[in-house]
């Protein structure tokens, strides 16, 4: 069984609907630690030591956040800047994260058509999150495509939201139980492009 760390970042959690629903769907599951960064560090004073111990104790690290300015909320950048120390996360001595898996769970306002070359946002999600891919690579981690919920600006109907919540839950549980076919997953644009194709039934 894999241990999963979810680094959750939403500066206005009270007002979030999709992220809160996604998070509620997996709250309390065995082997899954949800760590609310804005809740833990309201003044951005990140406890580096604690964060590093937390990463070491888990096998899969998921950054769950809304998509702000084609990137993450500010605290996640601060987290990367401070926690991924030379000699711990990278460098010839730094291999604390090596071999672990990582992915992002993103909610974005625009819809699928806008995140295309020639679309209103001009780039695909995959292109925009390439810094995370590079970071994973530098730290020797296995990068997985992101779990993506698009079009939240229009306000998603309850049925659609529930569908996302359910698929997020399935994906996380499958990752935990080692039922995800990583090679197959890497071929898809999003982790949730076709969940059935990458998850083995228990």
């Amino acid at each position: 069984m894999n241990k999963i760390l979810i680094l959750f970042a939403h500066p206005a959690f009270k007002r979030s609907t999709i992220n809160a629903a996604l998070r509620d769907g997996i709250e309390g599951e065995d082997g899954i630690t949800i760590h609310d960064l804005y809740g833990a560090y309201p003044d951005f004073f990140i406890d580096v030591d604690y964060e590093q111990r937390l990463c070491e104790a888990h096998d899969i690290i998921i950054f769950q956040h809304p998509f702000y300015w084609y990137s993450t909320p500010a605290i996640l950048k601060e987290w990367l800047d401070l926690v991924l120390e030379h000699g711990w996360a990278y460098g010839s001595q730094g291999n604390a994260l090596a071999g672990k898996y990582t992915l992002q769970a993103i909610t974005a306002g625009g819809d699928g058509a806008s995140y295309r070359t020639g679309g209103t946002n001009g780039h695909t999600i995959g292109e925009l999150i390439s810094p995370y891919r590079a970071t994973a690579s530098l730290c020797g981690m296995h990068w997985l495509p992101p779990f993506v919920v698009l079009g939240v600006h229009r306000g998603l109907p309850g049925v659609i939201v529930n569908g996302h919540v359910e698929r997020y839950r399935q994906a996380i549980i499958a990752l935990r139980d080692g039922r995800v076919n990583y090679q197959e997953a890497a071929r898809h644009e999003y982790l949730n492009s076709n969940l059935k194709a990458i998850i083995r039934e228990p």
Binding site: D43, H86, G91
Partner: protein
């Protein structure tokens, strides 16, 4: 004297035995009192004989209760409630009167039927309010509707008293009992109205302008009994004035309460009057129980039973209809109907009055009074039925939502102490939209702060009754910012013991105070001067040429390290204390321990941040 004491003793003993028993059986205190009354009354152990006198005297409890209710109702809130009071209350009284009168006409002359209709339309303020408060329903949606109706009924008593003599069919049997100092009826109509208006104006001026400097003076003496005396004198004086001008004393007391609801002495007044009210009402209920004439009831069992059933069913039907017409939520209709379908204590007064004025014959009033008393007896039982069988079936969403709403706006936070620290804290909370109930013991600062629009009340926060009337039972949080450690410690102990649900946040004098609060189980506390010290230290670093952000980070790191060492230092503190080291040595030991910790502190952590490094090294 001896006889009086004996009577009092019997009443008190009956109450102390019956009420806790009733509580254990979850029957509510009102029913407990009533049963106690039956037990000690002429049809039980015959321990007391004359109850009428006592009932009249203790009716004053109702006056005090309305004063207290008024204290909780600010004029603005009362204005907001004008529609339910006039609309719901008015239609309840009107339609109940019409229904009862129509039924009555079948048996008796219309004048008598109307007199009975007007009287029986009223419900029991004493029982209903007491029960609602006990069950925590007073501030819910239905609670407010019920209260509106009761308030209208109290107002309606005045015109009813005026109308009743006009309905006389027989000659007047005796002197009409006014209890007035002078006979207002001798005055022409406009003069009477003038006198009444002057009296009400006087209450307003008294509450608004005279009472405050007076109370301030009295508060400054710091003698509690004088304050209690003044509070009692106020209520009794207003009642006398009201009786003198022919108004209901309950109404006058209510008005005085409303006028004083904005005053800083509100909670102090509340906690001073409360015990008297409780005791008087208790004895009032006991005397109702004792006055049940079982011989009469036995003789006319079917008639009385019919009247009681008809009364309860008829009023319930009217109430339910009114609740539908006024679009009250479905979940609230049952409670609204059940709460108000009994006869009230005003009936005792009004029937008596009607008999004396020759409206109703003696035997009829006795039958009716027994029926009303019986209906009051079954009122708490109906509440029980509602709680057990009806309430659980109705979704409580409506009721609890209203609760939340009140919690959010009505004082869910108590701020004890409004000195230097409390002032800034209060300002901050108010800016965040939280309006705490503020308690402070300094009468001059209370006065000043109120001029600036703070809701500050005068009183010693370590007094349990003041905490109670400040709403500790319903509050979520108490913030303690008292100037000294000892009272703060007392207050924490008090709160932990009596309001275990209440969250506590404390401003601690120093490190040692923090340990003591930890002993008491407090989790949230701050040292009063610690954060200022660090902020000033951060300024100092900046003045010495440190980068602003670096100075901030150093301060922040120091604070974190200090927080991290707290459990360890607390352990050392408890060990030292257990080994009875002298205070002086203890203090030095702590300081040394602290310094050692500081020296071990690894501030290099900051140097590593944002340092970067070559991935290939």
């Amino acid at each position: 004297m001896e006889h009086f004491l004996l009577q009092l003793f019997i009443f008190l003993i009956a109450a102390t035995i019956a009420v806790p028993l009733a509580r254990t059986c979850r029957l509510g205190s009102v029913l407990g009192y009533l049963i106690a009354g039956i037990v000690i009354g002429p049809f039980g152990l015959s321990l007391i004989a004359e109850t009428e006198e006592i009932m009249h005297f203790t009716e004053f409890g109702v006056v005090m209760m309305l004063f207290l209710v008024g204290l909780e109702l600010k004029p603005s809130l009362l204005w907001q409630m004008r529609t339910p009071i006039l609309g719901i209350g008015g239609s309840q009284v009107f339609f109940s009167t019409v229904l009862i009168t129509l039924i009555g006409i079948l048996f008796i002359p219309w004048q008598q039927a109307l007199a009975i209709g007007l009287t029986l339309a009223l419900s029991s303020t004493a029982i209903v309010l007491q029960t609602l408060r006990e069950k925590g329903l007073l501030n819910t949606g239905p609670g407010r509707s019920i209260f509106s109706v009761l308030l209208f009924q109290d107002l309606a008593v005045i015109p009813i008293l005026a109308v009743l003599p006009l309905l006389a069919v027989a000659g007047v049997h005796g002197e009409a009992h006014h209890g007035a100092f002078f006979d207002l009826t001798a005055l022409p109509g406009y003069a009477r109205l003038l006198v009444v208006l002057v009296a009400i104006g006087f209450i307003y001026i008294l509450g608004r302008y005279i009472s405050r400097p007076l109370f301030r003076r009295i508060a400054a003496t710091r003698m509690r009994e004088i304050f209690v005396a003044a509070a009692l004198a106020l209520v009794i004086g207003i009642s006398l004035l009201m009786i003198a001008v022919g108004l209901s004393p309950a109404l006058g007391a209510f008005l005085a309460g409303v006028v004083l609801a904005d005053s800083e002495y509100r909670h102090e007044l509340e906690s001073d009057i409360e015990p008297f009210k409780g005791l008087l009402l208790g004895i009032f209920f006991i005397s109702i129980g004792a006055s049940l004439n079982f011989t009469l009831i036995g003789e006319q069992i079917w008639l009385i039973e019919g009247i009681v059933l008809g009364l309860v069913a008829g009023k319930f039907a009217v109430l339910f209809l009114v609740s539908v017409v006024f679009k009250m939520p479905k979940a609230e209709r049952w409670l609204f109907g059940i709460a108000l379908c009994q006869g009230g204590e005003f009936a005792f007064v009004l029937f008596q009055f009607a008999r004396v004025n020759g409206v109703l014959p003696q035997p009829l009033t006795e039958t009716l009074i027994s029926a009303v008393a019986l209906s009051m007896f079954i009122a708490p039982l109906l509440f029980l039925v509602y709680e057990r069988f009806i309430g659980p079936r109705i979704s409580h969403a409506a009721l609890s939502r209203e609760h939340d709403h009140i919690d959010g706006h009505d004082h869910s936070v108590i701020l004890a102490g409004f000195g230097k620290l409390g002032t800034d804290l209060g300002r901050f909370l108010i800016s965040a939209g939280i309006k705490p109930v503020i308690l402070d013991h300094n009468e001059t600062s209370v006065e000043l702060l109120r001029n600036f629009g703070f809701e500050v009340y005068y009183g010693d926060a370590t007094r349990l009754d003041l905490l109670e009337s400040a709403g500790a039972a319903e509050a979520t949080l108490i913030i303690i910012c008292l100037g000294e450690h000892e009272p703060a410690r007392q207050l924490v102990t008090l709160v932990r013991k009596h309001y275990p649900h209440l969250k506590i946040a404390v401003a601690a004098e120093d490190r040692r105070a923090v340990y003591e609060f930890m002993d008491l189980g407090v989790v949230t506390m701050r040292r009063k001067t610690f954060d200022s010290a660090l902020a000033l230290g951060q300024d100092a670093l900046q003045l010495l040429g440190y980068d602003r952000y670096e100075a901030y980070r150093l301060m922040r790191l120091f604070r974190k390290k200090d927080e991290d060492t707290l459990p360890e230092l607390y352990r050392i503190f408890t060990e030292d204390r257990d080994s009875y080291i002298s205070m002086y040595r203890q203090h030095n030991h702590e300081l040394a321990e602290l310094m050692v910790k500081d020296q071990q502190t690894d501030m290099d952590e900051l140097d590593k941040a944002w340092a970067g490094g070559n991935p290939h090294e």
